[in-house]
């Protein structure tokens, strides 16, 4: 809530509409606060008003699943074959051959640097001792990506051919990307039976949307002249599509291919939760269970290496085609064959090469030493953040301020003081011409006083609707209210507010810190050189790996969850901020320089406004990332929707799992739509 409220602040220029919305919100909030002692149902949604929606969802799904089950089982029976083939092919091929093949492919695509990347990347995988597990993971990706490509491509073409369904398709893609995978594991398991096929389907569901979006975008951008030429030469619609439009959109589609691969790779770990496949994700889970940071990081690094190699190589496909000398390819392959034949009997088995165990163990010991020597400081950091930031945000100053925490008792007089201060600040802002800002400040003070989880539901609904109205007009406002009402009625409201609070706090921290790092990276190139590989690693390493060091340093609880979410969600904020600032058009820069602006002035008055839409997009991604990490963070003991999803997974409660997943997706969708609405408006204001 806070983060979204902060976005509203710069829109003070739109006095009337924004101010009205803020005024109504503030009034509803004040009314709720005043009436709460008399009308208790204003504060908390009464239990008796809750509809047994999770049960309905469960029953409806059980019925539906029963119908599709035979088809799904047939599908998984068929998929077993390609899985088996990919698996055998990758595992039976001697490892020097696989390394040789990848090195040769690297050379062909990108010359010496790519070849070196392939060679050293796979060499590291071999050295880690996880070669077979890694190959199993690759086999899974090798099958799930084609499925995702076909599904995603099909959806994209469908949306292009039948423009009427475009809106619906967008919504479906959003759902596929925002409902956490854990939420639909149980129904998938019922449908497809046990085994790696479930993981395959789950990763295909997650990986298809980027492909679909890029196909849509690519086909949309095919120039009208090209289309007309195809029509004039008398091709049928299919011929036009497959022989003219898709080839001319191929570069955008290749971007989709790249994104699809990365998404599939980031999801393969989910396959491990079900099991049936001795892949790298299973190793990560085993080491995570033992809280062994070093080994789990090592296993996680294998996935990072795959991701980097696949990303860089497939990214080449999306750029201009320049291919390298084929003779080198043959030479590398020939060398690999000769090497294998000559030395195979004396080479160690792929799993026996575990040269990095020492590194892993010393990493683990390093972590131990660090916790031992910095125990007090870490404790102090955690306690201060909890007492002075997280707790007040969650339960409000009036409950968080206790003699144990702040050293004194909160009194109603202090509440009045806080409201008075907020009012005064608001008035000051309003007097200086920023009426909206004034109301927003007042609302923010009210929220800190009550705490996010204690916010009265009519206030949340009004506030969200007001934001929706300002960001995207009446339709968005109605959508937001309807979606929030389903959460209210399903009885997941309390948990949703808890999740909202944790995500809000993390997003806010990410926006501030990530934005600062992004600015620093944009100004000083050396900073970016250090930050970039860290960002790459944070994005592709299995999220579970973060949890162990965070747990070791700060124990279970909200602060650890907060840090884990931040570690993952900060990346897009850094990337987009830097990207937006660096991308300022030359003409604008030159104009600014020639008019004698200092570096700081250029940054503030030229680059920052120009980058605003991009930065907002980064914020949008940060919000989505935070929500997707929320489920993983539940493994360190948070109590929001993430925990419900695990409860559902343990009890095979399809209804609860899907409902909690849907509630999470709803929150993410609303945040997404609001931020996109504001970004759109900024773009228009800049004439982009």
């Amino acid at each position: 809530m806070t983060a979204v409220a902060d976005v509203a602040a710069p829109h003070a220029t739109r006095l009337t509409l924004g101010a009205k919305a803020a005024l109504i919100t503030a009034l509803v909030g004040a009314l709720c606060l005043a009436l709460e002692p008399v009308v208790p149902w204003l504060g908390a949604w009464p239990k008796t008003w809750v509809l047994p929606m999770t049960d309905w969802v469960g029953a409806a799904l059980a019925w539906l699943l029963g119908w599709i089950k035979p088809v799904a089982r047939l599908f998984s029976d068929i998929m077993v074959y390609p899985m088996g083939w990919a698996n055998t092919a990758l595992n039976a091929t001697p490892w020097p051959m696989v390394i040789g093949l990848v090195t040769a492919l690297g050379w062909y695509l990108g010359g010496l640097s790519m070849a070196a990347l392939g060679f050293f990347g796979l060499g590291l995988v071999l050295a880690s001792g996880y070669w077979h597990e890694g190959m199993n993971t690759l086999a899974l990706v090798a099958v799930s990506v084609p499925v995702a490509l076909v599904v995603g491509g099909g959806i994209g073409i469908l949306a292009n051919e039948v423009p009427r369904v475009k809106g619906a398709v967008q919504a479906v893609l959003d759902i596929m990307q925002t409902v956490p995978t854990f939420a639909y594991l149980t129904p998938l398991l019922l449908l497809f039976g046990f085994g790696p096929v479930v993981g395959l389907i789950a990763s295909a569901i997650y990986a298809a949307p980027p492909m679909a979006r890029n196909v849509m975008l690519g086909l949309e951008r095919v120039e009208a002249e090209i289309k007309e030429a195809a029509i004039m030469s008398g091709g049928s619609r299919l011929q036009q599509l497959f022989q003219v439009e898709i080839p001319s959109a191929s570069r955008q589609i290749m971007v989709g291919f790249n994104q699809c691969l990365m998404a599939a790779l980031s999801m393969v770990i989910i396959a491990a939760v079900i099991g049936g496949f001795n892949d790298i994700g299973w190793e990560v889970l085993l080491t995570m269970r033992k809280a062994q940071f070093g080994p789990s990081l090592l296993a996680g690094m294998v996935i990072v290496i795959f991701a980097v190699v696949i990303d860089r190589m497939s990214a080449v496909l999306a750029t201009e085609r320049k291919r390298y000398d084929l003779r080198v390819v043959w030479a590398v392959l020939a060398f690999a064959v000769v090497f294998t034949v000559l030395f195979w009997s004396s080479l160690p088995g792929a799993s026996e090469v575990a040269m990095l165990d020492g590194v892993a163990n010393s990493l683990d010991r390093g972590l131990t030493r660090f916790t031992q020597s910095n125990g007090m400081a870490l404790e102090a950091l955690k306690n201060n953040t909890l007492y002075y930031v997280l707790l007040p945000l969650r339960i409000g100053l009036d409950q968080a301020v206790l003699p144990f925490t702040w050293g004194f008792m909160w009194t109603p007089a202090m509440s009045a003081l806080v409201f008075g201060l907020g009012g005064a600040l608001g008035l000051l802002l309003a007097w200086r011409g920023n009426v909206t800002g004034g109301f927003v400040v007042l609302i923010a003070f009210g929220m800190i006083e009550t705490g996010v989880t204690n916010l009265p539901w009519p206030f949340v609904l009004t506030g969200a609707a007001a934001l929706g109205y300002v960001a995207g007009g009446r339709r968005l406002a109605i959508l937001v209210v309807v979606l929030l009402c389903t959460i209210l009625l399903s009885g997941l409201w309390d948990r949703a507010l808890l999740s909202l609070y944790l995500c809000g706090a993390s997003v806010f921290a990410c926006a501030v810190v990530g934005g600062a790092i992004g600015v620093a990276s944009a100004i000083w190139a050396p900073v970016w050189r250090i930050v970039r590989p860290i960002c790459d690693m944070l994005q592709t390493i299995p999220l579970f790996v973060f949890l162990i060091p965070v747990l070791m340093l700060f124990q279970i609880g909200e602060f650890s969850a907060f840090l884990a979410i931040c570690a993952y969600a900060i990346v897009p904020m850094i990337r987009y901020t830097r990207h937006g600032l660096v991308d300022t058009p030359e003409e604008m820069m030159e104009a600014a320089i020639s008019s004698g602006a200092t570096d700081w002035q250029i940054l503030r008055d030229v680059r920052a406004p120009y980058a605003a839409p991009t930065i907002l997009l980064g914020l949008n991604q940060t919000i989505l990332y935070a929500f997707s990490m929320l489920v993983i963070a539940a493994l360190i003991g948070t109590t929001g929707l993430g925990q419900s999803i695990y409860l559902a997974l343990g009890q095979a409660d399809v209804g609860l799992g899907i409902s909690a997943g849907a509630a999470m997706a709803i929150l993410a969708l609303i945040a997404d739509r609001l931020v996109q609405g504001f970004a759109e408006e900024r773009r228009k204001a800049l004439g982009l």
Binding site: F194, G275, R289, T371, L649, G650, A652
Partner: protein, 316 residues
């Protein structure tokens, strides 16, 4: 009562054992490998016994919570270490459907309880007596629970036995769910390394018991009444004011198992493994870094007397 009755039934069964048909010996029997080392040991010992009897065995990794669907569908044929304390509701569903059958206790004497790493006894003198917790609750206080003490409880999906005890004994301690086993271990490890206070719900056999020198708090031994009758026990106003109900560790198989591999079914039904056998093997794997296969093979060679009779009874 239930466990005693079951014990008698088992002995009766063991007495009546006869050589059974091998069944489809050329089709592999798939055994579930779950997420923890003890289970790996249990399963590999059983698998080696089946191999000794002339069966083909395949080990299939399977999530503990999600394996029952696979068991019901016959994609996995048996899972050999189910803990009654954290078995998912789905198991009961599948058993009542008749697609999964229970095939007896494993004989592993499990113990669960409120535990602490040994150094905590210095911070809270009077431990292991539970009464000591009344006075040192403050020692265990953290930012999340202040002014109450903190107990790290099982992940929410395993149930809340720790929280039940704290209410039962009316202790000023708040139970916080851990979220995952990894989180429990990380808490133990951090506490041991930093010598910081920690109260945790834990169980044995577990490799961490010896690795972090974990001790149990002495709670009054309870019986059925403790869980139903508030008057029972030190706290007259609440149930659950006693030690944990002993958790049962048992085996289960696919419903078609007995018909397809009768002799293997007998072997698995009669298969037992004790804590004394399992825990040292776990240590050799998790602490000394041996592989499950090697450690189990060594144990099988040394202890042939303890498992060969079960195999022979079913096959000869």
């Amino acid at each position: 009562m239930k466990t005693i009755g079951l014990g008698i039934a088992l002995t009766a069964l063991a007495g009546a054992v006869q050589a059974a048909d091998m069944g489809a010996a050329n089709e592999p029997i798939k055994l579930a490998i779950n997420e923890w080392t003890g289970q790996h040991v249990t399963t590999h010992v059983a698998g080696e016994m089946l191999k000794a009897a002339g069966y083909k065995v395949e080990y299939v990794t399977a999530g503990m919570m999600n394996q029952f669907q696979a068991l019901a569908d016959g994609d996995i044929h048996a899972t050999l270490e189910i803990w009654s304390s954290n078995v998912s509701d789905e198991y009961a569903k599948k058993v009542s459907e008749g697609t999964v059958v229970e095939i007896g206790d494993l004989g592993l004497n499990a113990r669960e309880g409120i535990a602490y790493p040994a150094h905590v006894a210095d911070l809270c003198p009077g431990l292991p007596a539970w009464e000591a917790l009344k006075d040192c609750a403050q020692v265990f206080a953290t930012a999340e629970t202040i002014p109450m003490g903190r107990l790290v409880d099982y992940p929410a999906d395993w149930g809340t036995p720790g929280a039940d005890r704290m209410t039962g004994f009316d202790l000023p301690i708040k139970a916080v769910p851990a979220g995952s086993e990894g989180a429990l271990i990380a808490e133990l490890r951090a506490s041991t390394e930093r010598k910081s206070p920690l109260l945790i719900t834990f169980w044995q056999p577990h490799w961490a018991m010896s690795a972090y020198d974990v001790k149990f708090v002495d709670l009054p031994v309870g019986n059925e009444e403790c869980f139903n009758d508030p008057a029972w026990g030190p706290n007259p106003n609440a149930v659950n004011d006693c030690d944990f109900a002993p958790s049962r560790i048992f085996k289960a198989s696919w419903s078609g198992f007995a018909e397809k591999w009768p002799a293997a079914y007998e072997i698995l039904s009669n298969y037992q493994l004790s804590v004394e056998a399992q825990q040292p093997m776990m240590g050799k794997i998790d602490v000394d870094g041996g592989s499950v296969e090697d450690v189990v093979a060594a144990w099988m060679a040394e202890n042939e007397g303890s498992w060969r009779p079960v195999v022979d009874a079913a096959t000869k």
